[in-house]
Every structure is written in structure tokens, then in C-alpha cells.
Amino acid sequence: MNRKITIDPVTRVEGHGRVTIHLDEYGQVKDSFFHIVEFRGFERFIQGHPYWEAPVLVQRLCGICPVSHHLAAAKAIDQIVGIDPKDLSPTATKLRRLMHFGQVFQSHALHFFYLASPDLLFGVDAPVEKRNVVAVAVENRELAIKGITMRKFGQEVIKAVAGKKIHGILAVPGGVHKTLTENEREYFLDGKNIENIDTMIEWSQAMVEFMKNYHEQHRKFLDDFAFFPSGHLGMVNKQGGLDLYDGLLRAVDSEGNRILDDISTDLYQDYFSEAVAQWSYMKFPYLKKVGRENGWNRVGPLARMNVCDFITTPLAEKARQEFIAFTGKRVNNSTMYSHWARLIEVLHCAEEIKILLHDPELMGNDLVRKGTPRSKGIGIIEAPRGTLTHHYEVDEKGMITKCNLIVSTTHNNDAMNAAVKWVANNVISRKGHITDGMLNQVEVAIRAYDPCLSCATQAMGKMPLKAELYNYNGELIDEKYKNG
């Protein structure tokens, strides 16, 4: 008999999603879907608000990624007041970068230690009581303490520049509203009150080593699990180096051929389109010239490793070289290498934070600049989860008339569906009995992309994630809820 499996909620991701797997009468997977079933419509209700409210309002999209939305919106709104990234004062640029690196650092630490580490430490088919951060804390005390301390360090960086860890404000149109004081800077350097930035770098290096060792022991799993070819998209600087805050858009296909050649972020509309599907509120962005079927790209840490020519900080660049040497290919299409790539970025952010903390311009007083107002602004940054686009248009009174958000997780929509299909076909298909461990592997595949479903659909409220199993008659015959 045909069956349909539903995983609802998908756990240890940010937001509410559902997976359905359809089986035929032989237990073979016919199809699978990763549905996003929450909707809010932020793009619509921001219309009519004055432009300067955007960087503050859009933070409310999410409690996990507010900094990314704040900064992407700020970059767009800078243009509304006539300021391009190169015109921003050095102090404002550096403070925003510091905030951004603090955000990526804490977000990646949260994902690795709190969400992903149970899968790596206890195995993808570990019993449910092991698959959480509490079990990690009990069995790997030192790792847990480091994870908590690293996340807290990133949050403290955000708090120092924005006043609050969540929903704080740094950016204003054309700059920032505060500088960093000497005391605030020393707080992160002297190690008197919290572990200092040198310790963060040391621990970040240790985590990259942990992942390298894990790779040695589990290479086949990392290579094969949820492997599929795809394009990869990310931002690079003019020299081709990784740049998380500002740069040019670059995409490569699954073989490493350039399919988007370092275009200015202002031109994104000329190159990207978004498709919709009946079964999900999350859109499907793709490169127009490649087409809907093959034009989608992965974004995030793995994609960024794949598109950049180098990393601008020495320790992270060394780690990237080792990462490439291990995979032996120009482009890595293995989903699980995302975790390794993410830890390399943790190290990169720690190095960048240290460089900025020693830069006297961080404490400058040239905070805000103004230019000739314009009617359109496009801000793109590399958020922790990938390329994030904010596009605003305003009328002559400065009221927002159009808002288009292409959120990182949206770019990964096709990738997450491809990952679910891989697990459905390789783990669940033709098995007489569906185990909890099998279903967890669906989640492991999704979780590698660190999706933020609340951002992707701009949803609100309670957000559990849900798996359903349907037979060939379309009847629900098994389901799984994970509410806690």
C-alpha cells in the first residue's frame, strides 16, 4: 500500500516547517516535500511607513537574525539618503562590520553547539533523549561551556554597539548613532570580565580541529549524506575574497564554472527571479539565465567556501585551504560539509573582530553622512545563513512604496527539498518499517542548512516543525509531531 510520512515539526531549526514523504505500494518513495506553512507578509505591511523606520521594523522579522535584517535594511536605506557603501564614514562602516561579525559568530556558535552537535556527537539515529543540547551539556561539559561562552561573546559584541543583544539599534540612515568607547573596547580585549577575543580565536581554531578529526572518522558520511549537485551563491570582495558585509555577487555551478560573474548588488533584479509553489509559503529564487529548474543556488557557509577565492584573515584562510584539500574538488556539493564551513567562518569572524577592536577608527566620531536623496535602495549582506537582500522604494515624501526581501533561507528552499529527497530515497525508500532514527535523518539534512523559517516567511507565533506518511490512496497513515 502507498504511504505518506510527515515530519512535523522538524526540530532544532528556527521556525515551523513540515515534511511529507509519499510512498507507493512497494514502499518506494514517489515524492517528498519540505513545506513552509507559516505566513505573515512583512513586505506588504511595511509599505506606507517612513524609510527611516525600515532598519528598526524589519528586525522584528526574527529574534534570531535581527542584526542581519537591521544591517541589510540599513545598507538599502543609506542609498535612499544618497549614501553608497563607499561613502559611509570609516567609523560607521567598521562599527557595522563589528556588529555583523558579532552576529555571525554568535549565530554560527548557536547552530553548531546547540542545534547540530547532538547529531555529530551521538549519531543521526541516536535515541530522541540524546538529540538535544541538554544531553551535550551533560556528556560533553567542556564543549557545552565553550559553546555557551562563545555565543555569549558574540551577543556581548552586539550589545556593546547596539545597546541590546536582541533588537538593538546601531544603524541610522547614512551611518550609525553611536561609537565604541575605550572601556567597551577593552571589555573584549582584557579578559577581566569575560573570556577575551584571543580566547575566542583559540577556541574557534579548536572547533575547526574538532571538525577535521570528526571528518577523518566519518568521511563517508560527510561525503555521501544528502549529496546533490547545485549552484552556489555568495558575496566576494573585488579581489574575490570572502566578504560577509559588502561586495559583489558571484555564483558557480556544481562544477565550479562561474554562472554569475561578480555583479554589483544593485543589479540583482536583472539576474534573479522568484518562483512559487502551491505547497509552500516560501518562494524559490533562481538565476533567470539558467532557468527555474537548474538556476537555484545554495547559500550560506558551504556556498561561500565554494565561491570565494580566498579568505581575508590568515587562520581562516589556512583552515579553508585544508577544507579544500580534504574535499579535493573545486566545489563541494556535500550537504554535511556545511558544518565544517560554518566553523571556518566562526574563526574568520573572531579574527575580524580582533582586527576591528584594535582599529582606532572604531572609536571615531564621524558617524553620519548625507547625500542626494534617491527613490530606491538595495542592501545585500551575507547573513549567517546566506545571501540576504533588502530592496526598498520610496515616494517623494519618503514613504515606503515597495519592499522586496529575499531571505537566505529562501535561496536554500530547493536545496533543502533536494536534501529531503536524498534522505527519502536513500534512507526511507523500500524499508518496511519507518524508525524514529530514519525520520531524524530528514531533519539532519534540513538542519545542515540552518534554516530560519520565521525569516523566510516572516512569520510569527508558535512555530513547531511537523512528518507525515501517506499511502498511494493519499491517506495519512503515520505522522510525527515534535513540540518539545
Binding site: 526540530t11 541538554v134 561539559r141 557545552a144 555565543r151 536582541i166 570580565n193 513547531p464
Partner: protein, 158 residues
Amino acid sequence: MKNIKTDKADILLIAIGNSGRRDDGLGWEFADKVSRSCGSLIDCEYRYQLQIEDAVMVSRYDTVIFADASHTELKEGFEVKPCLAAPHYFFSSHMQSPETILYLARELYNKTPEAYTMAIAGHDWGLGKGLGKDAELNLQKAISFFEKEFVPAVRKTA
């Protein structure tokens, strides 16, 4: 900066809620009021939700109170209960129970503060600022109990 407190008070009050969702702001309002009346005796922290790293902060105090709005009707309008460490786990990363935070404080930092939950009954969870009339009454009762009975009892045993 006062992120890691060296000059800490005797009691840590962690207020959980969201003042933009009407009565869900009860926990924060409770913290606002008692911090004024109890002064240096209490350190107040405000949270939308409890997070794992809150275990670090909790581990630095001998007495901790988690104050939050309650969806359930309560006989006195509020309810104070002892809170014990337990490894509850929620599916998301950013919503932990007080019991789990205490559990993590014990397992990771070898600290088990005496802890309580203060639940205050609310009714209106819509968007907007300000408490409803009933929630306001329940808040007053909770504050009165806290100031007149709870704090003196803690001081006596400290």
C-alpha cells in the same frame, strides 16, 4: 558595562514576556515595580524567552525567581512555586524552561540556586501595550505578596 555583575544583589529576578502583547507583559511589569521598591536587593533581567546561556547568569546567584504571565486562571491571581532543576527540552534553540536553565546551571557550573516561579494570571494576549484590568489587579496582589512575605522570608534565611 555591567554585563557580568561583580556587584550583584541577593536575588535575581528574571522576567519573561513581551510588553507588546498586552498581558504577556505581566512579568516585565512585575520586575519594573519590584525593582523600584526593593532596590539593591534584587537584580532584574528581562527576557522574551529563556535561553541556554541564561544558565551562566543563574549560576551566579543564591536565589532566583522566574516571573511570567500565566494562561491559566490562578486562585489568588498569582502563584509562587519552588522550581527544581530538570532536563526538559524544547524543540527550538531559544525557548528553554526555568527547570532546564537550573539543570544546566547545576551540570555545567556546579551551582543550584534556590529557585521559584512567580506566575501571574493574564487574559488578553493580543497585540498592543498595557495590561488589562484583571491582569493589573493580579499584578498588584503578586507585588504585595512579594514585598511583604517573599522578600522578608528570603532575607531571613539568607
